[in-house]
């Protein structure tokens, strides 16, 4: 299926680039830079405060902005709009600056052109978050941000195109997966215009007429050719394609969230979902990582860690965490997906190989996974909504420049019991999304009894949702681990 099949010739109902003021701003040549500069300044302040400011997490900009405001705003923007955080990514500001001095000449190694490395980094980030209690450490949080900046600049100074975004950045991978459930995508307005296009500037970039090797406007650095681009995977919303298109034929269009997960067309820069084991693994890590990350914040995790420590006779947290990660990010997903695929084979009559079915099912879990991330990050965001205000006030006061007044530490966010209702709402929304995607996948199998494909697939989502409801109803407990403490 081509993009033209998904985008009918009727004009899209929503095109953000045609919204007055917003559209004009986003189409401006320097819009991305203008969005990146404030985030870069804030990032620099977070790094400095994390390294040199108070080391109590609720009083530090690095921890407060990273683990409360940034994560929450990120998932809400993904839910209500699209991958606009990648658009405004401050790491890319520094990377673009570096590229004015260093021109990369190497291509990313072919064997690494997949998601396996970024999956490893994503899991590592989740692991380090628990191991070093990053949520409680301004110092380590600041170094995490520094590492991101350094990684982006270093990798993209050596390798051409958007190597860091496409193959490395864990936050980027999170955004790519979550944005499959977003209501907006960067897409072609009228596919007929593309059929007559001879320059393909959206992918090649705009070249200097007198010197065709000189690119004066980048095309897509993530190898997404607009006429054959489907959905949001790997799209950073950088809008280079919008700038490059000579026909003004690319917009930020409205669409049905998560519908792209139901079908399996050939996607530019991606291929077929059903043939991408790495992408399916990313979807699973995204979903079960949501459960695991939330599990780290509730009381039962400490009982489990102590029980495992006693069972294995260890005092170090590392092997215990490694065991829990292996259990919840490898064993549990493979078991659940494997059983669901096996039931589909013997009961549903599917002729697909077991592995192929399992790959398709992995994509159905994205909405429920996103719902769990929304519930978790939304909790911190909504209960701690105003916390950046007193922290900012205190930062200025500590610098001897109390222009923002006395810190108002008691500014309340939403009450936790109110937010819990919202959390359940997000999980329910995710479950409904996953069940609908499961139905879409079952229908696309074109079998006599698609319900027998749908039921195992939907049951998978129900099990994940049940675990999420249980998790969110547990008492929260935020502390470092002291093994053997009972």
């Amino acid at each position: 299926m081509l993009q033209s099949d998904l985008n009918p010739k009727t004009p899209p109902a929503v095109d953000v680039l045609r919204v007055p003021f917003i559209g004009a701003f986003l189409k401006h040549q320097h819009a991305r830079t203008l969005l990146q500069i404030p985030l870069f300044v804030i990032s620099a302040a977070m790094i400095l405060h994390g390294l040199f400011g108070p080391q109590l997490a609720p009083r530090n900009l690095a921890t407060t902005l990273t683990w409360v405001q940034f994560r929450g705003a990120l998932v809400f923007v993904l839910l209500f709009a699209g991958n606009f955080f990648c658009l405004a990514c401050p790491f890319m500001l520094l990377r673009n600056l570096a590229r004015k001095f260093v021109r990369p000449v190497r291509n990313w190694p072919r064997r690494l052109r997949n998601k396996w490395l970024s999956i490893g980094l994503f899991v590592s980030m989740l692991f380090v978050y628990e191991w070093f209690d990053l949520w409680a450490s301004p110092w380590w949080t600041a170094w995490l941000i520094v590492t991101y900046f350094a990684g982006a600049v270093l990798v993209d100074s050596i390798f051409k195109h958007a190597t860091f975004c496409k193959f490395i950045c864990p936050v980027g991978q999170f955004n790519f997966v979550a944005s499959t459930a977003s209501p907006l995508e960067v897409a072609v307005r009228d596919s007929q215009v593309c059929t007559h296009c001879t320059t393909k500037d959206c992918i090649r970039g705009v070249r200097e007429p007198a010197a065709p090797l000189v690119v004066i406007q980048r095309g897509c650095e993530l190898a997404l050719f607009q006429p054959r681009k489907v959905g949001n995977v790997d799209c950073t919303f950088c809008l280079d394609c919008v700038q490059a298109c000579p026909h003004d034929n690319i917009g930020i269009l409205g669409r049905l969230p998560a519908a792209e997960l139901m079908n399996d067309p050939m996607r530019s820069g991606i291929g077929y979902f059903s043939k991408r084991k790495d992408l399916a693994a990313l979807m699973l890590v995204f979903t079960f990582g949501a459960l695991l990350n939330a599990f780290g914040m509730v009381t039962p995790v400490y009982a489990l860690e102590n029980w495992l420590a006693n069972l294995f006779g260890v005092k170090s947290e590392f092997p215990i965490l490694a065991f829990i990660f292996g259990l919840f990010l490898v064993f549990e997903p493979l078991l659940l997906i494997g059983v669901a695929a096996w039931v589909t084979r013997i009961w549903g009559g599917s002729k697909r190989p077991l592995g192929s079915l399992a790959l398709r099912y992995a994509y159905s879990l994205v909405p429920i996974g996103f719902g769990i991330w929304l519930a978790h990050f939304g909790f911190h965001f909504l209960t701690g909504f105003y916390t950046f205000i007193p922290v900012t006030q205190a930062t200025f006061a500590d610098l001897g420049w109390a222009i923002l007044g006395e810190p108002r530490w008691s500014l309340p966010g939403l009450a936790p019991n109110v937010v819990q209702v919202i959390e359940f709402g997000f999980i329910t929304l995710g479950l409904v999304g996953s069940v609908l995607v499961s139905y879409g996948i079952a229908m696309s199998e074109k079998l006599e009894r698609p319900l027998r494909v749908f039921i195992p697939c939907a049951t998978l989502s129900l099990i994940v949702a049940a675990a999420a409801f249980w998790l969110m109803s547990q008492p929260m407990q935020m502390r470092g681990v002291v093994l053997g403490s009972g």
């Binding site: 109590l56 997490a57 609720p58 009083r59 530090n60 921890t63 407060t64 990273t66 683990w67 409360v68 209690d133 949520w135 409680a136 009381t299 911190h380 965001f381 209960t383 701690g384 916390t387 530490w409 008691s410 500014l411 309340p412 966010g413 936790p416 008492p475 929260m476 407990q477 935020m478 502390r479 470092g480 002291v482 403490s485």
Partner: protein, 115 residues
């Protein structure tokens, strides 16, 4: 039941001792008793003390409480620890001569009520 007595040795000329009850600490109201002594071991009376309890996680709204002097140099406050986990208590004291003095101590591993 009262917990064991902890000692905090400040860099200035005051010492703060604190007790938290119940022990082990649980979510809900806890009683914090503070004793301030000067370098000669004499208890410091007449200070105005405010407590601020924070969780280790960013984004949690701190809990504030005033401490009453229950006997010369001994101050007591009830603080509502709303969530299980690690808490940090900041003691903001205004001494009788108007000087400000601050100290911080931890209440680690606050368990959920009923456990």
């Amino acid at each position: 039941m009262h917990g064991c007595r902890h000692e905090e040795r400040p860099s200035l000329d005051l010492t703060l001792a604190y007790e938290v009850s119940p022990q082990p600490p649980r979510t809900g109201p806890v009683t914090i008793t503070l004793t301030m002594t000067d370098a000669l071991g004499k208890q410091v009376s007449g200070a105005a003390i405010k407590l601020e309890a924070n969780m280790s996680h960013a984004g949690m709204v701190p809990v504030f409480a005033d401490a009453k002097e229950i006997s010369p140099g001994r101050y007591q406050s009830n603080v509502e620890l709303s969530m299980a986990g690690d808490w940090y208590v900041m003691v903001h004291a205004t001494l009788p001569d108007g000087r400000k003095w601050e100290r911080q101590f931890d209440i680690k591993g606050v368990a959920p009520a009923g456990q």
